[in-house]
Amino acid sequence: MKMKSTKEAFLELLNNYQGILHKVSLVYFRNRHDREDNFQEIVYQLWKSYPVLKNHQSVGSWIYAVAINTSIARVKKNFRIEYREKIPELTDPSNFAEVIAQNESLQLLLNAIHRLDEVDKSIMLLYLEEKSYEEIAEIIGITKSNAGVRINRAKERLKQNLNNTSHGKQ
């Protein structure tokens, strides 16, 4: 039987979890090009840290940690003008925007999330993904009880943003 190479195994794993990468990019970046760049950067950073995957309790928490840290590192970079390297044009990029545009509630929720700060964005994302307090604490690097407090605060801020956004629309 043919043994899988490390890269093949990594790509297969990535294929099963790529939804996480899309969601993290969506939470941190409004612009399609930034999301695509970020997606590619996360793929690269995951590949770089693939050897340490065995040290993590779960594949999901490893992917979330790399994806969130990579996105935060890129958020500030976008303030300056930088040479955009050409990345391969793959699946139909307009599809994503269409899916969001068709769902008004999702659009409102996303707008409210985009107005949170970077820490609250990550906490809210994990909460919306229905991660347990233990998992959130592991990914963010805080205690379980602290995670509970922060989730509640982030939720309050999100709801406040949601109210402001929906009032603004009326």
């Binding site: 294929n15 790529q18 950073q45 590949w47 935060i72 990345i87 509630s105 929720l109 919306l128």
Partner: protein, 205 residues
């Protein structure tokens, strides 16, 4: 809006429409790896090329002026600073590129803040602000004196040299100081941004 409602709205978001095939993921990874290697080679290549060019120039000009101790000292100081700057610059860049992104957010922030703080607020953090104008001055002296075909002190006593230095040196010094300061301010902003995030995670923010 109820909490469960928020989660169900989020669940309604289907990422399958963006699903990429394994071949596409492979293409993304391969192109990113190639870009990163090219960027790395370009930075290393250009830095080494410039430094080697400068060192060759310094060696040739120094060999042609063996009897001018001030000129030789100027070139030696310039050469030493160039080599040290090249090594420390490449080392810092390498350290910054090698982030441990797999760590929990708080630990990752701490590591990055520590690294940036060491450069930007550490003991020698403001060295670059003065080193760049200083290097500029030494390079100007080295080129100017060499092409005047006179000993160092004599070349600087020349009226044209004095006027040139009075006019050109302040402009060059200002531009190099301003550039170094601008880069430092951008990096400090980045550090503040990370510190703020860390404060929010550690404190009650």
């Amino acid at each position: 809006m109820e909490n469960s409602e928020l989660q169900s709205i989020w669940k309604s978001f289907d990422t399958d429409t963006q699903q990429k095939s394994i071949a596409e993921l492979n293409l993304l990874l391969t192109s990113k790896t190639r870009q990163t290697i090219n960027k790395f080679l370009t930075i290393i290549g250009v830095s080494i090329f410039v430094c080697i060019g400068l060192l060759i120039y310094l060696t040739i000009t120094s060999l042609n002026r063996p009897n001018d101790p001030i000129y030789l000292a100027n070139n030696i100081v310039l050469g030493v600073i160039t080599i040290l700057s090249l090594v420390s610059g490449l080392w810092s860049w390498y350290k910054l590129q090698n982030n441990s992104y797999h760590q929990p957010l708080k630990n990752w922030l701490e590591a990055r803040i520590e690294l940036l703080s060491r450069w930007l607020t550490g003991r020698f953090s403001k060295l670059n602000l003065f080193l760049i104008p200083f290097l500029y001055t030494l390079i100007v002296f080295s080129i100017h004196v060499y092409f005047e075909y006179k000993p160092f002190l004599e070349a600087l006593h020349n009226e044209e040299s004095v006027i040139g230095l009075i006019v050109a040196a302040p402009i060059g010094l200002f531009v190099s100081y301003w550039s170094a300061r601008k880069i430092r301010r951008y990096q400090l902003q980045q550090l503040d941004f990370l510190k703020d995030l860390h404060r929010r995670l550690s404190g009650n923010g």
